[in-house]
């Protein structure tokens, strides 16, 4: 550990706000990408289910 205390670590000699902001935003953006990938997958699965349901409905009629 380079810093003497947790307080020093958070303050980073006055550069704390800059450094922590950057790491925070990065975590949010990368997490957001994973979230968006999940959302796209779910909406694609929904679209597949709709196709299958329509197909089943049309074969049921025959």
């Amino acid at each position: 550990m380079y810093f003497d205390s947790l307080g020093d670590f958070l303050a980073m000699d006055g550069h704390g706000p800059y450094v922590w902001f950057c790491y925070g935003v990065t975590a949010v953006v990368l997490g957001g990408l994973l979230w968006e990938a999940r959302r796209r997958r779910q909406s694609a699965e929904q679209a597949v289910r709709t196709v299958v349901r329509r197909k089943q409905a049309s074969t049921g009629k025959e």
């Binding site: 380079y2 950057c22 694609a44």
Partner: protein, 253 residues
């Protein structure tokens, strides 16, 4: 296996989906390990820079975000070229998948650069060659995303995007050498492939961790986005329907 069999196999969305599914857990685990480990290392263990103090710790996300944003663009350009030349559908899906990831990474590069610039250069923003060309990279990514939205026809959208992406690739060498070609506030690269790097090894090691972690994260996210796109586009195929709804539920064909 001949090169054409390999090429044909890679072009098959079904094969790609199954193959990428096996890679996902490794990419996820390794990228998170390297990103989180490298961040802790760079934030807490490495000594402060003798000139910049602690603000230099932003390097451990700024450099990986910038490098991977450029690497992502080149990947997108290659996918665009493959789609135009061989009309490979999968390449168009990869191209579409990369745009939002590249835009996010470029956004991070610009934002962390601005926040780093304030305590170091005394300003958030300057219109110098490096920063402006990265801003253009950001607009190129947004342009590709907007162009995909603008077309109703998928093939037409993919073709237009591929052309835009390939033409825009000229920006990548401009970004790379901008700090050498023009007088710039941005420092030249500290990591050199030829000759000695101008960064101390103790500072370089965590950077290598977050840099490789970011590349793996990009690969992971690219596969996730591409797989969602495959399910969406191949919704009328039997294998996707079996995969999503289960084989039994589907009943008679």
């Amino acid at each position: 296996m001949s090169i054409w069999t390999t090429f044909h196999k890679w072009g098959s969305p079904r094969w790609f989906y199954q193959f990428s599914g096996r890679l996902l857990p490794y990419l996820a685990g390794l990228s998170l390990l390297l990103l989180i480990g490298g961040a802790v290392w760079g934030l807490a263990l490495v000594p402060a820079d003798y000139k910049q103090g602690n603000s230099f710790r932003i390097i451990y996300i700024h450099v990986p975000a910038s490098a991977v944003a450029m690497g992502a663009y080149m990947t997108m350009a290659i996918a665009g070229a493959i789609h135009l030349i061989w009309r490979m559908k999968l390449a168009a899906m990869v191209m579409k998948a990369i745009a939002p990831i590249g835009a996010s990474l470029t956004f991070l590069a610009l934002l962390t650069g601005a926040v780093w610039g304030k305590p170091t250069w005394g300003t958030w923003w300057v219109w110098d060659a490096r920063i402006t060309s990265v801003l253009i990279l950001f607009f190129l990514y947004l342009g590709v995303m907007a162009l995909h939205q603008a077309f109703d026809n998928r093939d037409a959208a993919a073709k237009a995007c591929a052309v835009l992406v390939i033409v825009g690739a000229v920006n990548i060498p401009i970004i790379y050498w901008s700090v050498e070609w023009w007088y710039s506030l941005h420092q030249p690269a500290s990591i050199r492939f030829i000759g000695e790097s101008t960064i101390h090894p103790s500072m370089l090691r965590p950077l290598m961790a977050t840099l490789s972690g970011m590349y793996l994260f990009f690969a992971w996210a690219m596969l996730l986005f591409t797989r969602a796109e495959i399910l969406d586009r191949e919704r009328n195929t039997r294998w996707v329907q079996d995969l999503v709804c289960g084989v039994q539920e589907q009943g008679v064909k």
